[in-house]
Symmetry: C2
C-alpha cells in the first residue's frame, strides 16, 4: 500500500477477499466489505445474517456486522474515516462505489489489483500443485474426447457441453466455469455459446472447458474432427500447433508477456493467418479463471517464478471454421511447466 | 432518464443489459458496456472476439467492437462525450468505474437502478407466468422433500444440497442459484453453507433452494424434521407459519413494503421471538434472485400490480435451531398470488 501510495484498500465480491481472509463475499445486494487502512487493523463489514458464516481471524480483521435497517455504505465511510487514496476491489459491484463517492469528497480511486494483485501473481508450491492437479483432471477429459469416448456426431453442441460439464464435476472440480463446444463454422466465434446445432460428420469441433478444483482453476482447449475435413484445416492446425509450442517455449523467466504473445503471433502471421488470430495469446489463471498476467501485446511485465497463464493461440475464419489449442503453463526456474499434457494433435474421430 | 435527471446510462454485467437488449455481458476482464445517451441512439461496446455472440438490434444499439490492444474505457469515455450525469449499472465491476472516473472530470454518478429498475419492477403477464412456472418446479421438489423421497438421515448437508441441485436442473432450470441445507444448530445461520455435517434423527432441517428457469428465478424454503424434536420447535413453527401467512395476506396493492414486513414481524415479536428474526421479510425477484422491491422496514414503496417478491420470515436461535418459511408472491389486482403452493406445515419424516 505504501508503494502504491494508497491509504485504504476496500474489497468485496471477488477473489482478493478470500485470498486474504478465507472468506468469500456473497454476490448479493447486501454489502460485504473488508476495509484495510494502511498500517492498521482491518475491519470486515458483514450482513448480520451472514456473520455466522465467517471464520473469525481476530489477528487479521475485526468483524463488524450490520443489521437490515442500517446503511452499510455509511458505515464503510465511517471506517474509512479521513483516508482519501482508496484502492477498490476489481469486482466490487459499482452500486456500492457509486454510493460511497459522495461520502468521501476529494478522494481518488485506484484498482486494488495494484496492491493485492502482486501478492496473487506469484503462485507458491501449493498453488502450483493445485493448478497441476486441476490441469490433470481436465487432461483426462480431453483424452476421453480425443479417444472417442465422448460421442459427438448426432448430438447438439449443448448436449456435449452438458456432458463435459458433468465430467468436470465428476473429476473433482467444485464448479464448472465454462464448457464451450463449437462445431464447424461456429468454432469461428472464440466464445461461442453451445446451442442446438447438431454436430455432423466431417467437421472440426472445438472444446474449451474448465472449472475450479480446491479453489484453483483449470482451462484447456482441444479440437477434434469428426471425419475428413478440408485439407486447409490440417495445414492451418500444423501452424497453430507450432505457434502454441513456440509460445510455451518462450515462457522463460525474464521474458516479457508480450514477447510470449509475439512468439505465437509471428508464426501464425508468417503463415498468412495473422488477421484471423483475433485475441491475445493468453490470460493469467489461479483462483480466478482470468487474472494477471495477460499474455498480450503491450504487457511488458517480466515473467517470474510462479506466474501461471494460458497459452492459447487460435485461428478463426468467419463462416467456415475455427481452431484453438490451449494449455496452462507456469513459468519456473526450471523452465516452462505445462499443467496440461493431453495430446496436442488434431484427433480424427 | 429525464425524470432521474440523467444524461447517460451505462450498463455492463448484470440483468439490466439483457432485459433491454437480449444480450448478457460475460463477467470477465474484457469490458462489455452499453452506453445509452439520453434521447439518442445507444452504443454497445463489445470485445471483438465476443461480437459474433451478439444478435444485432440496429434499431436499439450500434455495435462497437474493440480489439485486444485498444483501451475500452477510453473508448467508452469518448462515446459518453460531454455528458456528466451518469447512471451506472449496479453490478458493473468497479475496476471499470475506477478507470472511467478520471476520464469524466466533474461528473456525478447515480445507480442505474433508478432508471432501469422501475422498468423491471412491474412484471407483465408473461413474466408472472414465468415466475409461476419456476415456482411450480421447485414446489415439486419441496413435495418430494416433504414426502420423504429425498433421503436425509445419514447423508451430509452437502450431499442433500447436491441432490436438490440435480433436481432443480432436472425440473427444467438452466442454472442452480443456491441449495441451502442446514441441519439442527446450523439452521440458525440463515445463509448457512451446506457442509460435511451428517444429518441425524430428531432434528429440524431447513432447505432453501432455487434456480433460473427460462430467465426467471425460483426460490422456496421449507423445513422438515427427521423425527421427534423439542416441542418448542413446533410451537415456534406455528408462530412462523401464522406470520408468513399474515405477510402474504398483507401484500395488497397500495400497501407499503414495510407494512408487509411488519405484518410478519409483529406476530413473531408478540410471541417473544422478535430478536431472533434477524433479517427482512423478503426481497424482490424476477430475472435476478434478489432485486427490488425489498420487503423491509423503511421501504415505503407502494405495491403495484406485477410486483414480485419473497415472503420469508424466519426464527433463528443461535447454537440450537433455526427455521424459515418462504414463498414467492406477486401483488395483483386480484390480491396476492403465490407462485409457491407446496404444503406449509413442518413435515415429519
Amino acid at each position: 500500500m505504501a508503494v502504491a501510495d494508497v491509504e485504504a484498500v476496500i474489497l468485496s465480491v471477488g477473489r482478493d477477499l478470500p485470498f486474504l481472509t478465507g472468506y468469500e463475499a456473497m454476490p448479493l445486494e447486501r454489502l460485504t466489505l473488508l476495509v484495510i487502512p494502511r498500517g492498521e487493523h482491518a475491519t470486515l463489514l458483514i450482513p448480520a445474517l451472514e456473520a455466522p458464516r465467517v471464520d473469525p481471524l481476530p489477528d487479521v480483521f475485526t468483524l463488524l456486522p450490520w443489521t437490515e435497517t442500517e446503511d452499510p455504505v455509511a458505515l464503510a465511510a465511517k471506517v474509512i474515516g479521513d483516508r482519501r487514496r482508496i484502492a477498490v476491489g476489481d469486482q466490487m459491484w459499482s452500486r456500492f462505489l457509486v454510493e460511497l463517492l459522495p461520502h468521501l469528497p476529494g478522494a481518488t480511486y485506484v484498482r486494488a489489483n495494484g496492491v493485492v494483485g502482486s501478492l496473487r501473481l506469484q503462485k507458491d508450491a501449493a498453488e502450483i500443485a493445485a493448478l497441476q492437479a486441476a490441469g490433470a483432471a481436465v487432461d483426462r477429459i480431453a483424452t476421453q474426447l480425443q479417444s472417442g469416448q465422448i460421442p459427438l456426431i448426432g448430438r447438439t453442441e449443448a448436449e456435449v457441453s452438458a456432458d463435459l460439464s458433468a465430467r468436470i464435476l465428476a473429476e473433482g472440480h467444485e464448479v464448472v466455469n465454462f464448457a464451450i463446444v463449437a462445431a464447424g463454422e461456429n468454432a469461428a466465434s472464440p466464445h461461442h455459446h453451445p446451442g442446438p446445432r447438431v454436430i455432423g460428420p466431417n467437421e472440426i469441433v472445438l472444446c474449451d472447458f474448465g472449472g475450479t478444483m480446491a479453489g484453483y482453476c483449470s482451462d484447456i482447449t482441444r479440437c477434434v474432427t469428426t471425419g475428413d475435413v478440408d485439407p486447409e484445416i490440417h495445414s492451418a492446425y500444423a501452424v497453430l500447433k507450432e505457434a502454441q509450442a513456440a509460445a510455451v517455449a518462450a515462457a522463460q523467466l525474464g521474458a516479457t508477456c508480450e514477447s510470449v504473445d509475439a512468439a505465437a503471433r509471428d508464426i501464425i502471421s508468417a503463415a498468412g493467418y495473422g488477421e484471423y488470430f483475433v485475441h491475445r495469446t493468453g490470460h493469467g489463471i489461479g483462483m480466478e479463471a482470468h487474472e494477471d498476467p495477460y499474455i498480450v501485446s503491450g504487457n511488458t511485465t517480466l515473467l517470474e517464478h510462479g506466474h501461471a497463464f494460458s497459452i492459447e493461440p487460435g485461428i478463426y475464419i468467419p463462416g467456415r471454421w475455427g481452431m484453438r489449442l490451449e494449455d496452462i503453463v507456469i513459468a519456473t526456474e526450471r523452465g516452462p511447466l505445462s499443467a496440461n499434457n493431453a495430446d496436442h494433435d488434431l484427433a480424427l474421430l
